[in-house]
C-alpha cells in the first residue's frame, strides 16, 4: 500500500471515529424552517377545516406570540414566530452541544 493511500485511509478513519460538531447557524436555520413551516401548516390546516370555533387550543399560543391567531393572516405571523422559536432552540442546542463536546474532549 502506498504512503499516500495509507495517509488517506488514516485520515478517513479519523474522520469516522472523531466527534461530530454541529454548525450552529445551520442547525438554527433548519430548526427555524421546520418550526416555522410546522406552525404555518398547523394553523392553516385548522383554518381550512373551519367549524364553529377554530383552533381554540392552538390559539393560546398568542400568550407567547403577540398578534398570532388561528386565521389566514395568523398563519403567516405564526410562521415567523415558529421560525424564530425554532432557530433559537436550534442555535441553543447546537451551541451547548459544541461547548460540552469540546469540554468533554479536552477532559478526555
Amino acid at each position: 500500500m502506498s504512503q499516500s493511500t495509507r495517509d488517506t485511509e488514516q485520515a478517513l478513519l479519523l474522520v469516522a471515529r472523531s466527534v461530530a460538531r454541529l454548525r450552529t447557524a445551520i442547525v438554527a436555520l433548519v430548526g427555524g424552517m421546520v418550526c416555522g413551516t410546522g406552525l404555518f401548516v398547523a394553523t392553516l390546516w385548522l383554518v381550512i377545516k373551519g367549524g364553529p370555533t377554530v383552533g381554540p387550543t392552538l390559539g393560546l399560543l398568542r400568550v407567547y406570540y403577540p398578534g398570532y391567531s388561528v386565521t389566514w393572516g395568523g398563519s403567516i405571523v405564526g410562521f415567523f414566530y415558529g421560525a424564530l422559536t425554532g432557530a433559537a432552540v436550534g442555535w441553543c442546542v447546537a451551541f451547548l452541544y459544541n461547548r460540552l463536546a469540546d469540554r468533554r474532549l479536552r477532559r478526555s
Binding site: 502506498s2 478517513l12 469516522a16 471515529r17 400568550v63 432552540v89 441553543c92 442546542v93 451551541f95 452541544y97
Partner: protein, 626 residues
C-alpha cells in the same frame, strides 16, 4: 527442441541466462514470455510434471484436476494468452456448485428461496435477525475472519455457511484467521449483494463483477495441466526448456546479486558430486515457496529473516480420485461439504468440468478433497485406506454407493495454500525487505509471493517479471488481478527511469483508487457525542419550560395558567408555582437529556453501518495495492 546448454562453469554461461524456478502457471508464463522476447533461460521443476497445483494427473485414462481450476480473469492479456496457447481446446463451461450442510444441498451462490427451504422458516428468521444485529452492532475489531464475515453476513449465516468449511480448509479456528484472506477472497460480497444477485442475476457494483459469483468460465479440454503442458512445449520451442525433476537446493549470491543456483537432478552428474549441478545465472525468477528460497540462500540469510521464513505457514492438500461405475452422478462441477461429520471438504465431479476428463463415458470420475497438514493422520494414511475413506464419505453424504467405486488414486500436494495467520504479514515484510536487495531476483506465483493467488494473478506476475528483465520497473507485489479498475488511466506512466512501460504495467497504477477515495470521503461520518447531545437538549428543554411558565406569569395572563398546568399530566409535580416550576424544569431537563442522548446514540449506531462499509471499501483498496 534442444535446450540451451547449461554448465557448471559460470564463465561458459550465456550472457543472458535466466533461471526460472518452478513450472507452475507463474513460472511457465514467465518461460513463454522469455522465449517470445528471445531471451535465454531454463525452468527447473522439482516435480516430474508441469503445472504446479494446476497440473492434471492421469489415472486409468482419466484426468484429475488438483482443486478444480476455473479459468476466469479480468485481465485481457491473460485471457488472450490462454486462447493463444490452447485455441479451440479451451471450452466454455457453466458453473454449478452447491453446499452440502446438515443433509441438505444448498445452491451456491445462495438463492433465497432455496436457502429458505433448506434452512426452514425458524432458522431463516434467526439468520435474518442475526444479520440485522450485525448491521446495528457490528464487531468493531475486524481483524479476524469470523468478525469480517459476521459483520457482512450475520453471525448465524457465518456459522452455517462459512465456519465449518473454512476451519476444514485452514485447519484452525476462524478467530485465528486474518480478515485479509476474507477481504481478498470474498471481496465486495455481502449478504445483501448475494441476495440481490440471486434475485436480479449476475451482480455488479459500479461495474465490478463480484468475485465469488462468476457463473461461466473457460476450461481446457483435458484439464488445467493441458494448458501448462502446451505452454511448456511452446516455451521450449522458443528456447526456454523445462527440466523436470530438477530441484533447486541452493541459491548463491554475491554483492546483492544472485550468481548461481545449485540443482539436484534425477541422475548423478560428472561435474558435481552426487546429482548436484551448479548453474550460473544473470537473473533468477523464483516461484518456489518463498520460505524455501530464503533457506536456500548461500551465504545464509540473517537470523531474523530465517526466523520469518520459518514462521510462514502453509496448508497442504490431498485429493482422492475415485473412478465410479455410473454414467452421471450429480450436476455440479463441485460441492462444498460443510457438514462436520465427514472430513472431506469439497467434491469435484471432473466429468462436469470437461467430458473428456473421463476415459469411459459410462463411468464418472470424482475427486474428494481433504485439506491437511503434511504429516498429519490423513497425510500419512495409506493410499488404499484413503480410497476407502473417500468411498465411505461419498456414500455418507449420498453421492454414490461405496460399492460403485471401481478404483481410486491419491495425490498429495504439499504447500498448496499459503496461510494468512496473524503473523504472516509481519514475516513476509521481513523477508521482502531482505530479498529486495537482490537486484536480479524476483519472486512470483502463489508460493513465491506467499499470496493466495488465482492462476491469472500468478501469470501476470510471470509476465511482468520477464518484462522487468527488459528494463521495465514493475512492482510484482502490487499486481492485482482486478486490473480493469486501472485501465481508465492507462496512459499514466508507472515505469521508473522514463522507460515506456509495458501496456499492462500501466494498469498497475491504482488509478481508480483516488476516485474511490473521493467517493469514500463523502461517506465518512463523525460520531455524535451522546452525552453532550443529551445535555444540550436537556438544558434547552428545561430553559424552554421555565420560560414558558414564567412568561405568562410576568405578563399577567393568569387565565392561561390552568392550561399550562396540564403539563403536570406528563411532568409529575409540575404546577405554576416556584416549587412546581423547579420540579417541572428538572423533569423536563431529564426528559430532554433522554431524548438528545437516545437520538445521538441511534444516529451513531446507524452511522456505524456506513463506517463499516467505509472500512470495507478501504480494505478493498488495500488489496489493490498489496
Amino acid at each position: 527442441m534442444e535446450t540451451p546448454p547449461l554448465t557448471a562453469n559460470p564463465s561458459e554461461t550465456s550472457p543472458r541466462q535466466t533461471i526460472i524456478v518452478g513450472a507452475g502457471p507463474a513460472g511457465l508464463t514467465a518461460a513463454l514470455e522469455l522465449s517470445k522476447q528471445g531471451l535465454g533461460g531454463v525452468v527447473f521443476e522439482a516435480d516430474d510434471i508441469v503445472g504446479g497445483i494446476s497440473r492434471s494427473v492421469e489415472f486409468r485414462g482419466c484426468r484429475l484436476d488438483i482443486g478444480g481450476h476455473r479459468f476466469f480473469t479480468k485481465v485481457r492479456e491473460v485471457e488472450d494468452l490462454w486462447h493463444e496457447i490452447l485455441g479451440d481446446e479451451l471450452l466454455v463451461r457453466e458453473r454449478l456448485s452447491r453446499i452440502f450442510y446438515r443433509d441438505t444441498f444448498f445452491d451456491y451462490p445462495l438463492k433465497p428461496l432455496n436457502a429458505l427451504r433448506g434452512l426452514g422458516f425458524l432458522e431463516s428468521c434467526r439468520v435474518a435477525l442475526s444479520y440485522l444485529h450485525a448491521q446495528l452492532f457490528p464487531i468493531p475489531d475486524e481483524r479476524t475472519f469470523d468478525a469480517w464475515v459476521s459483520n457482512r453476513f450475520g453471525r448465524r449465516l457465518f456459522e452455517i455457511f462459512f465456519e465449518t468449511y473454512t476451519e476444514k480448509v485452514w485447519g484452525m479456528p476462524c478467530s485465528e484467521i486474518s480478515a485479509a484472506w476474507a477481504a481478498q477472497r470474498i471481496k465486495n460480497l455481502d449478504l445483501l449483494t448475494a441476495v440481490k444477485n440471486a434475485f436480479l442475476g449476475q451482480g455488479t457494483r459500479d461495474g465490478e463483477v463480484v468475485t465469488s459469483l462468476i457463473e461461466q468460465f473457460l476450461y481446457p479440454r483435458l484439464g488445467p495441466g493441458m494448458m501448462w503442458e502446451r505452454c511448456s512445449e511452446l516455451a521450449a520451442q522458443g528456447g526456454v526448456a523445462t527440466r523436470l525433476q530438477h530441484r533447486v537446493v541452493a541459491v548463491q549470491h554475491r554483492a546483492d546479486r544472485v550468481v548461481s543456483v545449485e540443482v539436484e537432478g534425477p541422475e548423478p552428474s560428472a561435474a558435481e558430486s552426487g546429482s548436484r549441478q551448479r548453474h550460473a545465472c544473470d537473473a533468477l525468477i523464483s516461484s518456489m515457496p518463498i520460505s524455501h528460497l530464503v533457506e536456500s540462500m548461500e551465504p545464509a540469510a540473517p537470523a531474523p529473516v530465517l526466523a520469518a521464513a520459518r514462521g510462514l505457514r502453509y496448508r497442504d492438500f490431498l485429493i482422492v480420485g475415485l473412478l465410479v461405475d455410473r454414467k452421471t452422478l450429480f450436476p455440479d462441477n463441485w460441492i462444498y461439504v460443510h457438514s462436520p461429520d465427514v472430513r472431506v471438504g469439497r467434491v469435484q465431479n471432473f466429468k462436469n468440468w470437461s467430458p473428456e476428463m473421463v476415459a469411459d463415458p459410462s463411468h464418472s470420475f470424482v475427486g474428494l478433497e481433504y485439506f491437511v497438514d503434511e504429516g498429519d493422520d490423513l497425510w500419512s494414511m495409506d493410499d488404499a485406506d484413503l480410497v476407502s475413506l473417500g468411498a465411505a464419505e461419498a456414500e455418507a453424504i449420498g453421492l454414490f454407493l461405496g460399492s460403485e467405486v471401481i478404483d481410486g488414486h491419491v495425490v498429495r500436494m504439499p504447500k498448496a495454500y499459503p496461510v494468512y495467520d496473524d503473523e504472516y504479514e509481519r514475516h513476509l515484510g521481513v523477508i521482502r525487505d531482505w530479498l529486495n536487495r537482490f537486484e536480479n531476483l524476483q519472486t512470483i506465483g502463489r508460493n513465491g509471493q506467499h499470496r493466495y493467488n488465482n492462476q491469472d494473478h500468478s501469470m501476470v506476475a510471470g509476465l511482468y517479471a520477464v518484462r522487468n528483465l527488459s528494463g521495465a520497473a514493475l512492482d510484482l507485489w502490487s499486481i492485482n488481478v482486478e486490473q480493469e479498475y486501472h485501465e481508465e488511466k492507462s496512459s499514466r506512466p508507472t515505469s521508473r527511469g522514463g522507460a515506456q512501460p509495458p501496456a499492462t504495467g500501466d494498469r498497475l497504477t491504482p488509478a481508480r483508487v483516488q476516485n474511490r477515495l473521493d467517493d469514500i470521503l463523502e461517506s465518512a461520518f463523525a460520531q455524535y457525542d451522546e452525552i453532550a447531545a443529551g445535555a444540550a437538549v436537556g438544558v434547552t428543554t428545561a430553559l424552554g419550560l421555565a420560560f414558558a411558565t414564567l412568561f405568562p406569569v410576568l405578563r399577567g395572563q393568569p387565565d392561561f395558567l390552568p392550561t399550562l398546568s396540564l403539563l403536570g399530566q406528563y411532568l409529575f409535580g409540575f404546577e405554576v408555582s416556584w416549587p412546581g416550576l423547579l420540579i417541572g424544569t428538572a423533569e423536563a431537563g431529564g426528559l430532554g437529556f433522554a431524548l438528545g442522548w437516545s437520538t445521538a446514540r441511534l444516529m451513531n449506531r446507524l452511522v456505524a453501518a456506513a463506517e463499516r462499509d467505509l472500512e470495507r471499501r478501504l480494505a478493498t483498496i488495500t488489496t489493490f495495492e498489496l
